[in-house]
């Protein structure tokens, strides 16, 4: 058994990139709502979510009731995304807003650097495959 899980680099890169842009959206939303009363800053635990996504163990967001009678209605409800967690505020504001702009902006910048890194890895993989196909060094 391998200590380090072996994933296909292409699908790993794709998943990582998707998750990075998803997180970019969450952090951008936190920044846009930095003055909204009662807004709670949200985030994901990147490593855990990526692992769950690669292994397909992500919990479903759909909840439905079992129908045991013809007259029953299944009643599909969409849960809040289980990946989204709440940020623990270090300076809670009086209006209930937990967005700390400095924290969010630094996380945003960190996330964009990591997105660039993910893009770089994916790009390298693609270039390697292209040079294997064409026989030309790229």
């Amino acid at each position: 058994m391998n200590a380090v899980p072996q994933y296909d680099p292409l699908s790993f890169g794709e998943n990582a990139l998707k998750l990075r842009t998803f997180r970019q959206q969450i952090l951008g939303n936190n920044l846009a709502n930095s003055d909204t009363p009662g807004f709670k800053a949200r985030d994901i635990r990147f490593a855990d979510v990526l692992k769950a996504q690669m292994e397909g163990t992500l919990p479903s967001t759909e909840v439905s009731m079992t129908t045991t009678h013809a007259g029953h209605i299944a009643g599909n409800i969409t849960k809040d995304d289980p990946r989204l967690l709440y940020r623990v505020p270090n300076q809670p504001a009086k209006d209930g807003n937990t967005v700390d702009s400095d924290v969010e902006l630094s996380e945003f910048t960190k996330n964009s650097v990591m997105t660039e890194a993910a893009l770089g890895f994916l790009s390298g993989t693609l270039r390697g495959r292209m040079s294997a196909i064409t026989g030309q060094p790229s």
Binding site: L17, K18, T21, F22, Q24, Q25, I26, L27, G28, N29, N30, L31, A32, N33, S34, D35, T36, P37, F39, R42, T61, T78, D81, L84, S101, L105, F108, T109, S112, T115, E116, L119, L122, S123, L126, R127, M130
Partner: protein, 134 residues
């Protein structure tokens, strides 16, 4: 496309903060307006933000839900010669608090800058994504 959503979120933040700046400008401009269209003194206005939420998405930005007028008591100024003065010589002046307005203005402009920054970064990342595999 998640990064395109980041643009929409950023622009919703920009327009909300721009509206806040407009309201602040209106408050400062009308700090001495003793009568408006209804003949009453101007009352300070504030925007109310609310988060936009769509099920199944981490959030879709911010919107101005309403603009509320301040309930603070009107400022009374002693000006016996003024045409709007009451029997004891006092004129009702707007309840605009210049300190509050300046703080609001600075906060709005900082938030505006922050949203622009976030959109700029998203734009760069998107252009990099278009270059993937080159």
């Amino acid at each position: 496309m998640s990064l395109l959503a980041a643009f929409d979120i950023g622009s919703s933040g920009l327009s909300a903060q721009a509206m806040r700046l407009n309201v602040t400008a209106s408050n400062i401009a009308n700090a001495e307006s003793v009568s408006g269209p209804d003949g009453r003194p101007y009352r300070a206005r504030q925007v109310e933000f609310s988060a936009l939420m769509k099920p199944g998405s981490p959030g879709s930005g911010v919107a101005v839900s309403s603009i509320v007028e301040s309930d603070a008591p009107l400022r009374m100024e002693y000006r016996p010669g003024h045409p709007k003065a009451n029997a004891s010589g006092y004129v009702e002046m707007p309840n605009v608090n210049p300190v509050e307005e300046m703080v609001n203005m600075i906060s709005a402009s900082r938030s505006y800058q922050m949203n622009i920054e976030a959109m700029n970064v998203s734009r760069q990342l998107m252009l990099k994504t278009l270059d993937l595999g080159r």
